[in-house]
């Protein structure tokens, strides 16, 4: 590179031409470099071609659940129905169920009776349109050796032909719908909150996917969509709710919501309904005559990780 300053005072053609040429060469080199790096940047971004409708403008600009007017919500629900139809080839019924007055849900699970058959796990997956690949499940059943509550001794992946195994008991764990939920506290964008009936829900369209709630949950009850969920078309449950079982997007959190689309119209959650041993009890704690009120008053009740102070609405109890 020729760097001689042009102010040498000499005016013969040769010395004038030299910096000029240097400039030309440099600008040529620079243009080539700029072109090359531009092309390289485009090449680097080329995987984006595989991106199929990541997020529509409407979806991108969608407001937070609590800030939408009923009309806006109606539009959103309609849009979601269209999207589901386009993807899965059947028109679902997506509704925004509101909490009922005077209702606070509580869940009781009988550890004496549970046999670890995992029917609840699969009923939950079917009811809530959970991804089959990768597999997302809200309920984790721990196979525990008799005589301990140390979860480190639990078997998470037991697969015998027959349950219950001798010398073991089974402890299913799912969202405890805490009264003091750490997951809600830590969310930086208020994408998850507790509803009036005690259910902690997520606005799948507001979650930014930071997974802070997943780190905060002491019950390991939250799941993240590490990729686009996949559900076979014939396995879709068309009865959907906005805060519940509508299909989720890639990159957002999800969790057990006590089957909001069933319980808010007076039905039992899928796991309660399917349980063959009647270990699962669900009801309104504000109703003194409900089954769960009776259990909490008369049974020996155990709260998992009571010391973390999350005040769960999920109780384990024993018959004997």
């Amino acid at each position: 590179m020729n760097d001689s300053p042009s102010s040498t005072g000499r005016s013969d053609a040769w010395s004038d031409a030299s910096p000029e040429q240097g400039m030309n060469r440099r600008s040529f080199l620079r243009a080539t470099a700029a072109l090359a790096s531009g092309l390289a940047a485009i090449a680097a971004l080329s995987p984006l071609r595989e991106l199929e409708s990541f997020s529509s403008v409407e979806e991108f600009l969608q407001k937070h659940y609590k800030e939408m007017t009923p009309e806006e919500m109606a539009k959103v629900l309609e849009r979601i129905e269209r999207e589901v139809e386009r993807q899965y080839g059947l028109r679902p019924h997506v509704r925004d169920y509101k909490p009922m007055n005077g209702v606070e849900y509580v869940y009781c699970l009988n550890l004496t009776r549970c046999i670890g058959c995992r029917k609840c796990v699969h009923a939950c997956v079917a009811e809530n349109n959970q991804s089959r690949n990768p597999e997302i499940q809200y309920i984790r059943v721990l196979k525990m050796p008799n005589g301990t509550f140390d979860t480190e001794k639990a078997d998470h992946n037991y697969a015998p032909e027959l349950v219950p195994g001798k010398g073991f008991y089974y402890m299913p764990v799912q969202c405890h719908q805490c009264k003091n939920p750490p997951c809600v506290k830590v969310c930086p964008v208020k994408a998850t909150w507790q509803e009036a009936d005690g259910i902690t829900v997520i606005d799948y369209n507001w979650c930014i996917g930071c997974r802070y709630c997943e780190a905060a949950c002491p019950y390991w009850a939250r799941r993240f969509n590490f990729t686009k969920p996949s559900i076979p078309k014939d396995k879709i449950n068309p009865d959907m709710s906005y805060l519940g079982n509508r299909p989720r997007q890639q990159g957002v959190m999800e969790k057990c919501h006590f089957c909001i689309q069933r319980t808010r119209v007076g039905r039992y959650p899928a796991c309660v309904e399917v349980c063959p041993t009647g270990s699962r009890k669900f009801g309104n704690i504000l109703d003194p005559n409900s089954e769960v009120s009776d259990i909490l008053q008369n049974k020996r009740v155990f709260i998992l990780k009571e010391e973390v102070g999350t005040l769960p609405r999920f109780f384990y109890y024993f018959d004997i």
Binding site: L48, C187, P188, I208, C217, F226, T227, G251, K305, T310
Partner: protein, 581 residues
């Protein structure tokens, strides 16, 4: 006022132009970094399309190497303040110039932090939900929202300070105290806050006993104030080396003409010469005859004429000199100014900095009158300095005369030293509590240090980290590390150790075992690693470009005085000429 705005625009434009000017080494470096950035971008594009499934993270270990790096670099950013405190609170002038380098490092580190958080998000397209006022910001409930505020605030504070101080330098104007000192003090508190808040991200989670410990916050600060200044020590030396090397060509010609052809008289030194020196340097008398004899190996006596240079700033020879007779002047060129450091008479030493540290010459020494000097190879000087009295006298003179950055580096060394001791002490506290009580909560620590139920992925890492930290601590405590070479070793070890300990060693074990006792191990995938490399390269690129802009302005080469007249922009050749001058 309009003049000021105009000046500011010209200043910014010229800074931008500077980013594109450099020699081939600069282009090679920037080009290499760009290639890594693009590789990272490519890997991130894949992640953007397919989701975080391309990483090693799972529902069990839901944060990995991204958040680990984020945590580490928040510490680096926070540590920039360690340069600010000695300068503005203790009025340490030696570090004054370095403050801007530290703040620019903070800027680059924060940009890296923001990049690491962004790549960790499942839905980066929804970033606007995080913007206060527009989105739905969970403040003050979520510690993450605090982090968004403190990190961005810290970025703005540092950007403001850097541009203001550089702009003043550009206009050759004294900065107005009212316009920057309050910001400096806010910045000091703010730096502590960014790291404390980042620690609280973890500490606040009651369901994760490994993190839910009040010592995590202090440990974060201690490790940040170790790794951060250690990184600055290394960065400063790179900057010094890169900026101090004389450009080839014209300067080489100058050197040839002016340097003494090694004296009128030149002969091997004898014991008699040492006796002569001992008359002016009584400490030499305490050195045993045997060592004196040994130190003569390779020693020369030179006699030079007035005006001859004995050594030149920036050159890489490592001999030390003692004046036997005559007078030597030491000059230092800095920021376009030549400073006469001092005159040296018989018995005095010069050139010892390069001899002991192996760094390029920090100044030029010229004979003021016909002068006779004793030239000792570096090894001979070290031999003499094994004697306690000799070592003391030479070191005391060295610190007196050390060039600004060297003394600055040693100030930083004492910061790293103390922080490392505190860091290791706090670690021991934690280890004691965990393992002595031995309750169920020890599982994560057990997994980290010894492995749990046959799972031991992190064990080799954490012991490497522990080893690095301990060796670094020992080196830092010993006076050995006053030599830059060993200090550098200690710094590298401290950085590696803390990066492992505070990155993977902090984030991953928090998830293992899960709250339900399950053990699922984590290791980053290739794609994830490439994204990390990309962000590191991006950070280095940012820092390089920021320095490329700041250094000529600090040196006074680019200023309002040499602003181009008619044309709004410097031509390339003009800029190059200015940089060379």
């Amino acid at each position: 006022m309009t003049g000021l705005v105009r000046d500011y625009c010209v200043f910014l434009r010229r800074c931008l132009a500077l980013a594109f000017v450099g020699d081939w080494r600069y282009y090679l470096w920037v080009g290499t970094l760009t290639v890594f950035c693009l590789l990272g971008l490519n890997a991130y594009a894949k992640q953007f399309v397919h989701g975080l499934v391309v990483t090693g993270m799972t529902d069990q270990v839901s944060w990995g190497v991204y958040i680990a790096n984020f945590t580490f670099f928040v510490g680096v950013a926070a540590a920039a303040v360690m340069l600010v405190i000695p300068v503005y609170i203790y009025k340490n002038e030696e570090l004054h110039e370095l403050v801007i380098f530290g703040e620019l490092l903070a800027v680059a580190a924060i940009l890296m932090c923001l990049a690491f958080v962004t790549v960790d998000l499942g839905r980066p397209d929804r970033f606007w939900h995080l913007i206060p006022g527009i989105g739905k910001f969970n403040f003050p409930g979520s510690m993450l929202s605090w982090d968004v505020i403190v990190l961005n605030g810290y970025l703005l504070l540092n950007l403001y300070l850097c541009t203001y101080l550089l702009f003043c330098r550009y206009r050759k104007q004294m900065p107005s105290k009212w316009l920057y000192l309050p910001i400096v003090f806010v910045g000091i508190l703010w730096a502590v806050s960014i790291h404390t808040v980042t620690a609280f991200l973890y500490v606040g989670l009651g369901g994760r006993p490994f993190w839910n410990s009040s010592i995590v916050g202090p440990r974060f600060l201690a490790s940040a104030f170790t790794a951060g200044p250690a990184l600055i020590i290394l960065a400063m030396q790179v900057i010094r080396r890169v900026t101090a090397t004389a450009p080839a060509g014209k300067a080489a010609w100058q050197r040839e003409g002016a340097t003494a052809p090694w004296g009128v008289i030149r002969r091997a030194a004898t014991l008699a010469d040492l006796d002569l020196l001992a008359r002016h340097l009584p400490e030499l008398a305490s050195v045993s005859a045997q060592v004196r004899q040994e130190s003569l190996a390779g020693a020369m006596v030179l006699e030079v004429a007035a005006g001859d240079a004995l050594l030149r700033q920036g050159e890489k020879d490592t001999d030390a000199f003692f004046v036997l007779q005559g007078q030597v002047v030491v000059k230092r060129e800095e920021g376009g100014l030549t400073r006469i450091t001092r005159g040296l008479g018989p018995g005095e030493v010069f050139g010892e900095i390069s001899a002991l540290a192996g760094t390029p010459r920090t100044a030029t020494a010229i004979a003021e009158e016909p002068t006779r000097v004793l030239r000792l190879p570096a090894e001979s000087l070290r031999k003499l300095m094994r004697n306690h009295q000799m070592s003391r006298i030479i070191r005391s003179r060295m610190t007196e005369r050390l060039m600004i950055t060297d003394r600055g580096l040693l100030t930083l060394r004492s910061i790293v030293q103390v922080s490392m001791l505190i860091n290791v002490f706090l670690l021991l506290n934690e280890v004691f509590k965990e393992f002595y009580t031995g309750n169920l909560h020890v599982a994560a620590s057990e997994y980290l240090y010894f492995g749990l139920h046959g799972h031991r992925a992190l064990v080799p890492w954490i012991w490497t980290a522990t080893g690095c930290n301990l060796v670094a601590m020992v080196l830092l405590v010993l006076p050995l590390s006053r030599s830059l070479r060993l200090l550098n070793v200690a710094c590298v070890l401290a950085i590696v150790g803390i990066w492992i300990e505070k990155g993977m060693g902090l984030v991953v074990p928090g998830f293992i075992p899960t709250p339900l006792g399950e053990i699922v191990e984590y290791s980053p995938t290739l794609n994830e690693t490439l994204v990390c490399f990309g962000i590191w390269a991006f950070g280095l690129l940012c820092y390089t470009i920021l320095l490329r802009m700041a250094v000529p302005i600090l040196q006074g080469k680019i200023s309002k005085a040499n602003e181009p007249g008619r044309k709004p922009q410097d031509s390339d050749a003009q800029l190059r000429a200015l940089l060379k001058s």
